[in-house]
Symmetry: C2
Subunit: 349 residues, 2 copies
Amino acid sequence: MEGITVQELGLAARNHAMPLETLREPITPVGLHYLLIHFDIPHVDASRWELAVGGLVERPLQLGLDDLLSRPARTLAVTLECAGNGRALLSPRSPSQPWLTEAVGTAKWTGTPLGPLLREAGLAPGTAEVVFTGLDRGVQGGVEHLYERSLAVDDALRDEVLLAYAVNGEPLPPQHGYPLRLIVPGWYGMTHVKWLSAITVVGEEFRGWQQEEAYRLRQSDDEVGTPVTRMLPRSLVVPPGIPEFLSRTRFVDAGPCVLEGRAWSGWAPIERVEVNVDGGDTWADAELSDAVSTYAWTGWRFAWDAGPGDHELCCRASDAAGNTQPNDPKWNIGGYCNNAVQRVSVTVS
Amino acid sequence: MEGITVQELGLAARNHAMPLETLREPITPVGLHYLLIHFDIPHVDASRWELAVGGLVERPLQLGLDDLLSRPARTLAVTLECAGNGRALLSPRSPSQPWLTEAVGTAKWTGTPLGPLLREAGLAPGTAEVVFTGLDRGVQGGVEHLYERSLAVDDALRDEVLLAYAVNGEPLPPQHGYPLRLIVPGWYGMTHVKWLSAITVVGEEFRGWQQEEAYRLRQSDDEVGTPVTRMLPRSLVVPPGIPEFLSRTRFVDAGPCVLEGRAWSGWAPIERVEVNVDGGDTWADAELSDAVSTYAWTGWRFAWDAGPGDHELCCRASDAAGNTQPNDPKWNIGGYCNNAVQRVSVTVS
C-alpha cells in the first residue's frame, strides 16, 4: 500500500473504525461504533432546534424534539457500514477517509417512523424524492454546502426508515447526530443523515454535491456513474489469539481454535459464510446463527484446528440475493464498496 | 511529513483523537474522548472479575466490583492526554500510533481512592513501587506481556489517585477499562492502566517492557533515557469557521471572531495562554477562565479581528511551574511529549 498522506491522517485521527474484537458483541457499544463525519460536529441546542418538513407537501410541519418524542416509537437493531470501507486497500486510491475493513457497527436505534410523518404532511402530486438536510456545513470538492442526501419517495416511505433520537437506549451523542438523525436500514452510512434539520419533498432528482458528485461508482471522472445505495455483503472475523502492537499480526496457540465473526448485507439475508485458513482455494462453510435483527448482522463460527506456522485467515459472505464477496477489490475512483474478503495474518505455535 | 505506513494506519483506524470542535465542551462526551489501546480490548465478565492487592503487603486483598462500589467514592474531572500526542509531526518518527495534536479528553471519573486501600492492605517495610497490571495481553518490542506500569509508592498514595469504575456518571465502557481502571491525575495516559486486575507492591524498581523500554525520552537506542511522567503544558484552539473536508483548512468570515480553546499541564495550573494570528513573532494574551477542576483543563478566549487573507493560528500555554510550549518540536526516539504549538490554517474572506 502507498503511504497515507497527512491529510488522510487528519481524517483517520478524527474518525474511527470498530476495533475488530468488538465483533464479539451483537450490539456495538457507543464509542466503538464506526464514525465518519464530513465536516465538524455541530453544536446543537435541542431546546431551540426544530425539524422542518416542507417542499411539495400539503401541510408543512415544524416539529420540536418533544413533538417527535411524543409520536409512536420503534427500536431497530441496524448494521451501518461506511460506503468507503476498504478504500485504503485500493490502489490508486481516492484521497479521503482511509478505511481498512472495519468501518462498521450495529446499534439499537430508537425513533419515530418517517412514513407516517410524511403522510401527515401529505405528499403533493408530482413528488420524486425526499431531501434530508443536516446542520453540518463545510467545503468539499470546492463547493460549500450543508450535508444533504436524498431518497426516492418509495424508499423514504419504507416501514423501517426511522427518525432516530436515541441509540442503545440513550439520547444520541453529539457525534451520532444529536438530536435527530435518519436511519435507513440496509443502506451505506452516507444515507443516514445526522443532525437532521429539514426534510424537503421535491419534484425532481436532487443534485446536491453529496448526491451527484460523491458516492457514485465511476471508472473515470467523466462518467456519470451509478449511485451507491445498499451495503454489499461483507464478513469479518474476530482476530484470534493476541496481537502484536504495531503490525496487528496475531499469535495463536496450536490446537483447536474457534473462529467467530459476523456478516451482513443490505440486499438480502446472509445465506452463507465460508472460511479459508490455508491461503489456497479451499473454502469451508461456517456455522451461522440467527441475525441480530432483520436489519443487522448474522453471527458465524468455524472450528479451526490451528497447526503450527503462518496462516492467512479469510472469510467471505454470500447473501440470498446472490451477492458474494470477491477475493480481490473492485476498483472505482471514489473508493466505494470495496467488499473484498478480509485477510488476517496469524502465527501459530 | 513522510507518508504514514499501513501499520500506523491500522492503529489510527482503531484508536482516535478528540475532534477539535469538541474542545467547546468542558467535559468530553464518551466516544469523543481520545483512546489508545495497545493490544485488544479484553472481554471481561464483571461477575467473575476480581482485583488482587498483593506483594509486599501485610494483608493481601481480593476485591470484587461490589466491594469497590461499597467503598468511599470520589468523582474528579481529569484531563488525560496520550504521551505520544504530536508524534506524527516529528521527523523521523517512531512507528507507533501516529497522533497529530488532539489525543486528549476530559472526563468525570468516579472511583474509590487508592491510598486508603493500600493502607488497609498495610505496606510492609522496604516497599519501593506499586505495579498495576491490566488484563490486556499482547506482543510489543518482541516481548509478550500483560500491560503493566508502576508508580513510586509516594505517587500511588497521593489523594487524587483513583480506582475508577465509572466515567461521566456511567459504568466504564469496554474501551475505557471496564470494570476498573487507574486514574492518576496530571500524568500522561500510559499511567492510567485499564482493565485493572492486580496491584502489587514491590521492593525494587519495576522493569516491565512498558516501563523500562517504552515511555522513556531517549535520543539514541543505547540511552537509558528518562521516564515520561506528567503532562507538559499544551493549548488547543477550536478551529473557527467551517472546514474543508480533506485538508481541514478553515474558512472564516472577515470581521470579529472569538477564538476559544483549552489548555492544560500536569505540572501546575495554567497561568497564561498566548495567541499568534499573523505567523510572525507577535503573541497576545488570551483571557483565561477557571479550570474545570484542579486536574482538568482551563478555558481561554481571544477576540480576533479576522482580516481577509490566509492566516496560521497558533496558541501556546505556560504553567505556574515555568513550563511553556515550544514553537518547534523537541525530538526523541519514541515520539513522546511533543507539545509544540498547534498550527491551524485559516482562509478569511
